[in-house]
Symmetry: C2
Subunit: 179 residues, 2 copies
DNA sequence: GGGAGATGATTAACATGTTAAGTTATTTCC
DNA sequence: GGAAATAACTTAACATGTTAATCATCTCCC
């Protein structure tokens, strides 16, 4: 179908592309920053998912194994920070990865609350199996978009993140609390 | 706590920041494009979530209502495309929003398969209640990051998305199929 | 006009995101 | 030294992401 064919079926033909001034208490939708970031990220991840899937890995599982490859061992909280996962997600995934013997887990020596995680030989082998394809995809993305531009994008995203760092939770009450 | 205190507790002090050359069959982790995009998006969404939550809306529900505000009515498939949601997610959310009387749904006139959705008066009222806070947050983000830079970022994200548009699924077999 | 295939939408099943509550171990501080 | 506050996970509960399967219509073509 590849083309819209709805707006002239209900007998009015209004608001054909939502780009004009229908009724909107807000700015346009496709201009929203979260949407732009989401769409861009999805466009990128769409390239990687099939390969990961072929190796029985989800994106998040892959992130964790990738992070573990860079260190000897790491505590769960640190891993959550590095792999950018929330605690509960990480807990579930680690349980699964440990069950598949892709990682190993032990208690920290001096603090029984902390768990220390490391990648297993099997996990490393899996990484090495996936890496070539993954790197090839990344290279192709870089080629298409341009290495210079890619670096610039990274930079701008980093600055954005930093810009918003200390922007405390703008609760509704807080925002309307000055009149 | 606000500072790391783990790497010197297990008695070795190695790989303190994972930035050096531990063992890695791949490029560095924090340089990955998906991670940068994810972190940036999260930094942005973190600002909006509390306000939405105060009004009983999730990010996705908000996206849908926002999209519906721009048109009189729209078919589900089109809505999925505009709000950038997969069909199953959209189905569940529409069920919920309809239950809360924030939207209305009817069958298309000439095709009983298609469903046509529109926002209700109650839904519009909700949008109008949330919009001021939401716009204020967006304005603050723009102020901090810079309007020029924000537009530039949008542009670059759009180009990235377009660059990857026709990059067919790089299955493993496909990638290694030329030696 | 009727059946094969395509299409729009939903349901199913599993994995993760998100917030809150619970568990166990540690630290503080009286 | 022990109760209360903290910390590090983990579980729980609910919402969404993701893929596959299902269901109901529609279209096409014989």
């Amino acid at each position: 179908m590849a083309r819209k064919k709805s707006s002239d079926e209900t007998g009015a033909g209004q608001a054909d592309d939502a780009a004009s001034s229908r009724r909107g208490p807000m700015r346009e939708f496709s201009r929203s920053l979260p949407m732009s970031l989401l769409r861009a990220r999805e466009a990128v991840m769409r390239q990687f998912r099939p390969s990961l899937r072929n190796h029985g890995l989800t994106e998040q599982q892959w992130r964790i194994l990738r992070a573990l490859t860079a260190v000897d061992e790491i505590e769960v909280t640190e891993l959550a920070r590095v792999a950018f996962l929330l605690g509960p997600s990480l807990s579930r995934i680690l349980r699964d990865l440990e069950g598949r013997a892709l990682i190993e887990r032990k208690a920290a020596e001096n603090d029984a609350r902390r768990a220390v995680v490391s990648i297993s030989a099997k996990g490393l082998k899996l990484i090495e199996a996936v890496a070539p394809t993954s790197e090839a995809i990344y290279a192709e993305i870089t080629r298409r978009y341009g290495a210079r531009k890619l670096a610039e994008l990274h930079e701008m995203l980093g600055v954005l993140e930093a810009s918003l760092a200390g922007m405390g939770s703008a609760d509704d009450a807080e925002v309307e609390a000055d009149d």
